[in-house]
Amino acid sequence: MKEFFRRTRKSFDSDQSAETVQIPDDLWVKCPSCRELIYRKELNDNLKVCPKCSHHMRMSAREWVGLLDVGSFSETDANLLPTDPLGFVTPDDTYANKLKKSQHRTGMTDAMLTGVGSINRMWIGIGVGDFSFMGASMGSVYGERLARAAEQAAKLNIPLLTINTSGGARQQEGVIALMQMAKVTMALSRLAEAGQPHIAVMIDPCYGGVTASYPSVADVIIAEPGANIGFAGKRLIEQIIRQKLPAGFQTAEFMLKNGMVDMVVSRSDLRDVLDRLLRHYNARSKPPVVQAQAEPELAGYAQGRA
């Protein structure tokens, strides 16, 4: 877990999307919270948590895979690719073009990475969002990968871990994106029938349609310290109520205080907490009461209508 899966940039495509100010050769990183300059290697060794102020910086989905046992992860449904079902065009850009640019920049095909892996040799299904891919907005591919991950975990009789960060449903896919909230929740009902838990980790930032669907009804909900979590964005609320919101509004700690999450766990403790939780579920003496119903016919309705 010390070294993250790091990919070297292959493209020379100069992308103008303002990345955080970086000092030559990415050697040093400035903490966005306390402005401390940190040696990148040291930061990565510390799970991208600032050693000075313990600010939890964002990690890519591939970096999050480092949470699992080394070499245990295998990706699933990597062959699903996003399309442009509405032919969505804004004055600045087209959705198709935006997808292409994001794919180039992140090396991901869409904002959700799913697979199977283990934590201390206990197998789990896993789904991780990647905020750098169009704000990890939930579209068809995000939904389909996660739905399949839930169905697969139910079939394999293993728990499902989701790591959630998102700006909400992907507007460029319209109501199709909105319906992914229902689709993923549907698929998770199979996991519940199989008697396996869904553990959700909410990381910074998590908003909109993702907060308002599957992670908020997970069996265990864990939030990262300081993560912004909410339904409506802060700016929107401030506009409507015409007041400044208090400091600490919509943070992980705010969610804990209001009873919306089970715990706030720092990144360095996460693996340990998950280990303990998983051991509890695995140590159940009796098989769960609810028996899985007839096998879901995956082939039938899992066909995308691209």
Binding site: N79, L80, L81, P82, T83, P85, L86, F88, V89, T90, P91, S140, V141, G143, E144, A147, A169, R170, Q171, E173, G174, V175, I176, L178, M179, Q180, M181, A182, T185, M186, A187, S189, G208, G209, T211, A212, S213, Y214, P215, S216, V217, I229, G230, F231, A232, I237, I240, I241, L245, F249, Q250, N258, G259, M260, Y301, A302, Q303, G304, R305, A306
Partner: protein
Amino acid sequence: MEQLDTPHVASELTPWDRVQRARHPQRPHTLDYVFALCEDFVELHGDRRFGDDAAIVGGMASFNGRTVMVLGHQKGSDTRENMRRNFGMPLPEGYRKAQRLMRHAEKFGIPVLCFVDTPGANPNKESEERGQGNAIAEGIQVMTTLRTPIIATVIGEGGSGGALAISVGDRILMQENSIYSVASPEAAASILWRDSARAPDASRALKLTAQDLLELEIIDEIITEPAGGAHLDAQAAINAAGERIAVHLEQVCALDLDTLLHERYAKYRSIGRFEEQQNVLLRV
């Protein structure tokens, strides 16, 4: 508005015209449908946890000779009532009331009729504190496995997650001039066009009309409205909706519960457009 009131050929209307009609203050709202279509309505109140939200109404009624649970977003028809009902934008307790009534319906084997008409869930400080995200998520979750038929009808605005939280059903019907959108055209315009005045453009791009959504295979049927829109002849609009709801209700009530739930699963599981690449190398 003058222009809108003259009868048009339906296809001439722009998506923005539909948005205006869907939001028209004289358009019939949930309780108008309930009082006109049902008998012996008994309204039930409160979520048993925090309070009662007037933006969502619900209760038992007799529809077409059958006892049903009706629930829906409730907008007001004048300013005072709109203030009381918060323009049909529910708080978490509204959604939790809806869930309670759905569970109630399941317990007694009563089908559920949902009427969708909201700009969206209420975004304010209190609703965040009481878990708006969780309230909507639980609404969706309850409906995915509720062991009784559910028919959702969009009668005005279907505003994003706030609408979805009471509209995951075995059938989704939309009136001709209703809309259902991932975000309000104004919000989408201010994010993607950086100008909320571009809402007419956003409303076209978002594909939010009933006609678009039937084409995208999201909804099951479009209910025709009287010429010019439901606000011009509320009674005719209500009757037309009642007829179609009755037909679908009989269809879903005829199914046994396992088949019903299997079909509901398949219905939602199949929504999504993506390309599935076949990896030839793996097959060699």
